[in-house]
């Protein structure tokens, strides 16, 4: 079945390749500084520098617990991309992971009215294409 408006997929770059390999195995991978232990979101911080201590040593890839809390969210009623029209309304959430960094994703299995500040959430994985599996979040039951 072809989709006239496929959802936009994230670019896989040399810096994020291992992240997207991880999600295919249902693992949420973070970069951890080998010098100070600072965890960072591999999708927003360029690979080879630590915002915690400035170290240029290669970070190690570590698996996150997948647990965190809601920093904020929005429920989208007007989208600017046709691929998302049929999902309206959908929730975009920013989750603060136990390890420290924040992640942006969609929130599943809950309605807007039920979300509270700092509500505990956990990661789930949704296959988008053969190459990309997206981490998403749902409330901890």
């Amino acid at each position: 079945m072809t989709n006239e408006f496929p959802k936009p997929a994230p670019d896989i770059t040399p810096d994020t390749k291992l992240f997207w390999e991880g999600t295919k195995n249902n693992e949420l991978m973070l970069n951890k500084c080998v010098d100070c232990g600072f965890h960072r979101n591999p999708l927003t911080i360029a690979a080879n520098i630590c915002p915690g201590c400035g170290s240029r040593n290669h970070a190690e890839w570590v698996k996150a617990s997948g647990k965190g809390k809601v920093h904020t969210f929005t429920t989208v009623h007007r989208t600017f991309h046709p691929a998302f029209e049929k999902e309206l309304p959908y929730i975009i959430v920013i989750v603060e992971l136990e390890e420290g960094p924040r992640f942006l994703a969609n929130m599943r299995e809950i309605s807007s009215e039920e979300i509270t500040r700092d509500m505990p959430v956990e990661v789930i994985f949704e296959k988008l294409t053969d190459d990309i599996t997206l981490p998403q979040f749902k409330p901890v039951k």
């Binding site: 959802k7 994230p10 929005t74 429920t75 989208v76 009623h77 007007r78 920013i94 960094p101 500040r117």
Partner: protein, 376 residues
């Protein structure tokens, strides 16, 4: 560097709203020639040109404008990019170039063409945000507004008060896009939800139009036909752009920007007679008031109640209607309006005895911020 050494002496406008027959390049030229003649100058008096690129036509630049104006050489010519905050930043740069003795009269120009040009496809910031349906500034700002609501209980009535107040101002200004369209609180609450907690009437307009200004030294300003509006205080603050990398979603560059502006101006909040605050959404008004110290953190939503931002209020704000109700010309909605108030040119919507004004610009996912404190 000290205050009041430079002044804004020229303002240039163009048709605004929907301008399908105008190119970006023509709008730049129209705004610029109008600002130069408002300053009582000739094109050859200009020796500095600062523009910000219009995404609809990024090939119109500082050099095309200089060439179109027939200016053989300038001492400063640049495209400046702190996104929506660029207007205030460019006026500061013009001031520094004049104070440094590099330039005499600097032209600053801006064009927006989002009403009648095809939208630029949204590519998102680095990372995967597009795959999650985050497409454009409103979704991002909505998450900041939601954080404010989660922390402080900001209500729909409080957001609505900002929208309704600014609309009343626009109803007094014929050039405003919403001039003929009054808005009640009920209208606000009935407008369709865009991205919770922001409704359509919490979000800025879409517009075409150009604006320009001329900055010169206080000494030369005395010979210009219009009352000079002096640059009294100035500041900038820029925080990380990516939403997930912020300290928190309610922190923008406004705190640092405001701190610099009040320090350089040497005045207190109560000395401000008129404000022009960047209103991409109603939420941005509330957080800027908090971050810039007009009230405490968490009290901004209550602060806007009771007509405090209205023409008869304690802090008349966005007296043209702002980007919510006049037009979306980014920083160039607010800057010319505050200058006009200080010139005493605002007619029906004139703030009585306006001596000192404050105007802010914001850019990106509300990450860039510039502030000007101006006096007549």
């Amino acid at each position: 560097m000290s205050k009041n050494e430079c002044a804004i002496v020229g303002l240039g406008y163009t048709p605004q709203g929907k301008c399908p027959d105008w190119t970006v390049r023509e709008l730049f030229l129209e705004a610029s020639t109008n600002a130069i003649s408002d300053a009582g100058m000739k094109t050859h008096d200009i020796d500095g040109v600062l523009v910000e690129l219009c995404w609809t036509d990024p090939m119109t630049q500082c050099w095309t404008l200089q060439q179109d104006l027939g200016i053989n050489e300038t001492s400063m010519s640049a495209n400046y990019d702190s996104m929506g905050a660029s207007g205030g930043c460019k006026i500061q740069l013009a001031q520094w170039a004049i104070q440094a003795g590099i330039c005499k009269n600097v032209l600053i120009a801006f064009v927006e063409k989002s009403a009648t040009a095809p939208a630029v496809p949204y590519r998102g910031s680095p990372g995967a945000t597009v795959a999650y349906g985050l497409h454009g500034a409103m979704h991002g700002i909505a998450m900041a507004a939601m954080r404010h609501k989660l922390l402080y209980g900001t209500t729909e009535d409080q957001l609505g008060e900002v929208a309704v107040t600014f609309r009343k101002h626009a109803n007094m200004l014929p050039r405003a896009q919403m001039h003929a369209k009054p808005m009640t609180m009920e209208d606000h609450h009935n407008s369709r939800m865009i991205s919770e907690p922001l409704r359509l009437f919490d979000c800025c307009l879409v517009s075409d139009g150009g604006r320009a200004a001329v900055v010169t030294s206080a000494e030369r300003a005395k010979d210009c036909p219009k009352p000079p509006v002096y640059i009294m205080g100035y500041g900038q603050g820029h925080v990380k752009m990516d939403l997930v990398e912020r300290n928190t979603l309610v922190d923008t560059g406004a705190r640092l920007s405001g701190e610099h502006a009040f320090r350089t101006a040497g005045i207190k909040h109560k000395d401000i007679n008129v404000l022009g605050l960047y209103d991409a959404t109603t939420h941005n008004i509330i957080t800027q008031l908090e971050e810039m110290g007009f009230c405490k953190r968490g009290e901004g939503a209550a602060f806007v109640e009771g007509g405090r931002l209205g023409l008869d209020g304690e802090f008349p704000t966005n007296t043209s209607g702002g980007m919510l109700s006049e037009d979306y010309l980014q920083g160039w909605t607010g800057i010319p309006e505050v200058v006009s108030q200080l010139r005493g040119d605002c007619g029906e919507r004139q703030v009585k005895d306006a001596q000192i004004g404050l105007v802010t610009n914001m850019g990106g996912f509300i990450a860039f911020h510039s502030t000007l404190i101006l006096r007549r």
